[in-house]
């Protein structure tokens, strides 16, 4: 009847998946490369640091003639001097990254998974369900993150899982709001109607149809939350609600060695402070690079 043979093969293939294009565009930005370099460096310090630590993190250092004192300046025995109890600052620094990283990543993951689920469900169901879910989130949101964690930890006691739980729960509403806002628009599109019409299960509509369309927004949000959570976890450790002495932990180190700043041995504070700052800068640079790639601000440059 018709001679409509479409010239589809004339269209250049370009089969790469959408997210590959975004990732490539992310990588093409200097800010991402810097952020990634910083993050990898600190990851290496945190993960492999303990293998290179010259001393045990909790051992008092000795030299011929006895133990080293507290807040001793850098020497042959302790490259960055000693902390308040005469332990090696460098070794404690190399040991102390794991906990901050692990706890903040776990807390962020927990918050992200819960928040995404709540946000998607709210956006898709609308009505009373939406209101109920989101107002609950608002209640959680009303507690300042740090205070909420402090209250929980103060009641139950300093448990690591509790720390992850507290920070994760307070991350949830923030992720949920962003998820809902992004998903509300996607949920209205006809392909979701099409899926409903042929009876695709609700869970599959949420996670297989809607979620892939908001991933870039979520990646940006989750990296941002990670950045904040690193600071929150470090703050909680600093306040003594995280790892307990004599464990080595960057947040804890800052607290323990505060006196050293006045005693002329700043390294016990400077090292963890610099590390935590760099960590947050690194993650936010990567998040920012991804955000720009996703919106296409850097489209022109990414095309090269």
């Amino acid at each position: 009847m018709t001679d409509t043979a479409l010239a589809i093969d004339a269209v250049p293939a370009g089969r790469s998946r959408p997210w590959v294009i975004v990732l490539a565009a992310t990588w093409h930005q200097t800010r991402t490369k810097i952020g990634l370099a910083i993050l990898l460096l600190l990851l290496a310090v945190a993960v492999f640091g303990p293998f290179f630590a010259p001393h045990a993190p909790d051992a008092g250092l000795t030299r011929p003639g006895g133990f080293l004192g507290g807040f001793e300046p850098p020497s042959d025995v302790a490259a960055l001097g000693t902390d308040n109890l005469g332990r090696d600052v460098l070794s404690r620094f190399l040991w102390g990254g794991r906990s901050v990283l692990a706890l903040s990543v776990l807390a962020t993951l927990l918050g992200a998974v819960l928040g995404i689920a709540v946000g998607l469900l709210a956006a898709y169901s609308r009505g009373a369900m939406d209101d109920g879910l989101m107002r609950t989130q608002d209640v959680v949101l009303a507690f300042p993150q740090l205070v909420f964690a402090l209250v929980l930890v103060a009641t139950v006691g300093p448990q690591l899982w509790l720390l992850v739980f507290a920070v994760g729960i307070t991350t949830m509403p923030r992720v949920a709001r962003v998820t809902r806002a992004a998903a509300v628009e996607v949920v209205e599109r006809d392909f979701v109607r099409a899926a409903e019409g042929i009876g695709v299960p609700r869970r599959q509509i949420l996670f297989a149809e809607v979620l892939p369309n908001i991933t870039s927004t979520l990646v940006v949000e989750v990296t941002l939350r990670l950045t904040f959570n690193i600071a929150v976890i470090a703050s909680l450790s600093f306040l003594g609600f995280g790892l307990q002495p004599p464990a080595a932990d960057w947040g804890l180190m800052i607290n323990e060695n505060r006196q050293g700043l006045l005693a002329g041995q700043p390294w016990g504070v400077v090292m963890p402070v610099v590390a935590i700052s760099l960590l947050t800068i690194g993650t936010s640079l990567i998040g920012d690079g991804f955000a720009r790639a996703a919106i296409g601000i850097e489209r022109g440059r990414a095309r090269e």
Binding site: L6, A10, V11, G14, D190, R193, G197, G199, V200, P212
Partner: protein, 599 residues
């Protein structure tokens, strides 16, 4: 009358920034004062680029590389950006496609109109400007009392918004006006009104208008001359009568053949293939790969502009052969078989439906029998989509009974069993939103196979290839994402997704309204063929009366939630009884009517 025409465009070339790739090239035309030139082309042909260039503007990433635009003999492109800005809205103005996007939602109508005037120093006093505003609104038949001026854009209907934009465009009494598909989003009745207003204003004030549109019937209604664009070139330009009756370019002819007619019984003929995009254009004539007249020379040498007669120019090597063929020799429409079955496939009885507190359907009755195509026609807001969605189980808020093969159909797809869901399939209006952009075509088509037949892997692949062949797509699309495909191809995928479920009833909701005419013709043709071959019951929802004759046996006309007329398509179109149908028919722009009126 001065020597120079009001608007003159000469050898205009617009390129992609930083690349030697042209979007449009060698575009020359002129428009006299008081004349409307229709600039026709399909999406991607560069017609909007030309329209914007007349204002001395280019979209981001594009620049004018060559050529000139003169308004009353004055070159626009030679001016500085600031000088050009001062001219826009005063000497030359622009009416965009979407009035809702053109008006500032935070400012009152009166404020925006005042701004347009004061920005260009119109009138000496506030009183004078107020008088002009009242006059301008009067010209577009809108009230100009304070209550109206104090309204915000969202308090107006789409047609009113577009007329406010028209009033703004005409407020400073420009010499040239560019209208970029200003009626695309409007109902036929509103469209007819806006078109009339444009024609009267241009004639009365001697304004030269460039009317950019993909809709040939609209252009035929409005303009005296027409230019046809294809792949960034004007391929033919001439008086409207010549162009629509005896065009000399094969593409222009195919476009005319693709227009659905209200009275004609000819088949709709689509154009195969798709227009080459910037950077991928062949040597020689750009239309040659799709052209039935193409000779060797067409494939190697770009055709020059040839004058057929004074005022009628064409870019085609073979125009003499084209002209020798009569345009009247179009294929007759296939005679639609009579429906003999008496049992109904789907029947709606006394359906009342609501969107929240607002009732949108009032006691609607509808029957579709097996092997039958029923057209559901109405303007936006008439409730036709709601009715279609009630049947498809996508709208649950209704009362009354809908039965499928004699059994009552539960509201909502989720409460129906799998077989019922499979047997009723729905194709959505816009293929741009109905396909998940994050899934490949293969994944999209595999989904119903998995859900309805528990098929996967090899078996699913075979079925998918099969159904793609049915909708005339190649296997290569399986790996692609929707954004790799054109609108027409996407709609074919959407149809394939519905067909792969082997449905009994196919509901098509305005499936061609987001597509170009040539693609529209091909899709309607495809649907008609599939319906005949597979014996589907088809519910064809559309706002375009002209489309239904070639596909439907029966038609229901809807207005404000009620069915105002029903009957056989030929009877309703030829002898409408309801007042509303008559009005709809007279407002639907058609080539025949436009030709008859100008004769």
């Amino acid at each position: 009358m001065t020597g120079a025409p009001a608007l003159e465009v000469e050898r205009l070339r617009v390129e992609l920034e930083g690349e030697d790739v042209d979007i449009v090239d060698e575009v020359s035309f002129h428009v006299d004062a008081g004349e409307v030139l229709g600039l026709v082309g399909e999406s991607g042909s560069g017609k909007t680029t030309v329209g914007l260039a007349v204002l001395g503007h280019c979209r981001r990433g594009a620049r004018v590389a060559q050529g000139d635009v003169r308004i009353e003999g004055r070159s626009i492109l030679a001016l500085s950006p600031l000088e050009r800005q001062a001219l826009r809205g005063k000497l030359v103005s622009y009416v965009p496609q979407d009035p809702a996007a053109a008006l500032n939602p935070a400012l009152r109508i009166g404020t925006q109109l005042r701004e347009t005037l004061s920005e260009h120093g119109f009138g000496a006093s506030g009183d004078e400007r107020r008088a002009r505003i009242a006059e301008a609104l009067g010209e577009v038949l809108l009230p100009s009392d304070d209550a109206f001026l104090k309204r915000y854009p969202h308090q107006l209907s789409g047609g009113q918004q577009q007329r406010v934009v028209l009033a703004m465009a005409f407020a400073n009494r420009p010499r040239v006006i560019v209208l970029d598909e200003p009626t695309t989003g409007l109902d036929v009745t509103t469209q007819a009104h806006v078109l009339r207003t444009v024609r009267e204003l241009c004639g009365a004030h001697g304004v030269a208008a460039l009317y950019v549109s993909h809709d040939l019937a609209v252009v035929a209604t409005l303009s005296s001359r027409v230019a046809v664009m294809y792949a960034g070139r004007i391929v033919e330009i001439g008086p409207k009568r010549v162009l629509f009756r005896a065009s000399a370019h094969p593409y222009a002819r195919r476009l005319v053949e693709a227009i659905p007619g209200l009275s004609g019984t000819h088949a709709l003929v689509g154009i195969s293939g798709s227009a080459p995009r910037p950077g991928h254009r062949p040597s020689g004539c750009f239309f040659a790969p799709r052209c039935s007249y193409a000779e060797d020379r067409c494939r190697t040498e770009f055709p020059p502009v040839t004058r057929v007669v004074e005022g009628h120019e064409v870019r085609c090597w073979e125009h003499e052969r084209v002209l020798a063929d009569s345009l009247a020799a179009r294929p007759e429409a296939v005679h639609l078989p009579e429906v003999r079955a008496h049992e109904s496939l789907v029947a709606a009885r006394a359906v009342d439906a609501s969107h929240g507190p607002r009732q949108v359907l009032f006691g609607v009755e509808l029957v579709v029998r097996p092997h039958e195509c029923v057209a559901l026609v109405g303007e936006s807001g008439s409730g036709k989509t709601t009715l279609a969605r009630c049947i498809a189980g996508l709208h649950r808020d209704y009362e009354g009974q809908i039965s499928f093969r004699g059994r009552p159909l539960p509201a909502g797809a989720r409460s129906r069993d799998r077989e019922t869901r499979r047997e009723i399939q729905y194709v959505f209006q816009s293929p741009y939103t109905s396909l998940n952009p994050r899934k490949t075509i293969g994944q999209i088509i595999a989904q119903p196979l998995r859900l309805f037949f528990d098929l996967g892997g090899r078996e699913a692949h075979i079925r998918a290839v099969d159904v793609l062949e049915r909708v005339q797509l190649g296997v290569s699309v399986l790996q692609r994402y929707p954004h790799h495909l054109s609108g027409g191809e996407r709609q074919r995928v959407a149809i394939a997704r519905a067909l792969v479920a082997s449905p009994q009833l196919l509901i098509c909701d305005e499936v061609t309204s987001a597509l170009d005419v040539s693609v529209q013709a091909a899709i309607v043709d495809l649907l008609a063929e599939l319906q005949r071959e597979l014996g589907l019951g088809l519910l064809f929802v559309t706002h375009n009366l002209a489309l239904i004759r070639t596909i439907a046996q029966e038609v229901l006309v809807m207005s404000e939630g009620r069915i105002v007329e029903r009957g056989l398509v030929n009877e309703v179109l030829d002898h409408p009884r309801a007042q509303y149908t008559k009005k709809l028919l007279s407002d639907t722009p058609s080539l025949e009517a436009a030709m008859a009126a100008s004769a």
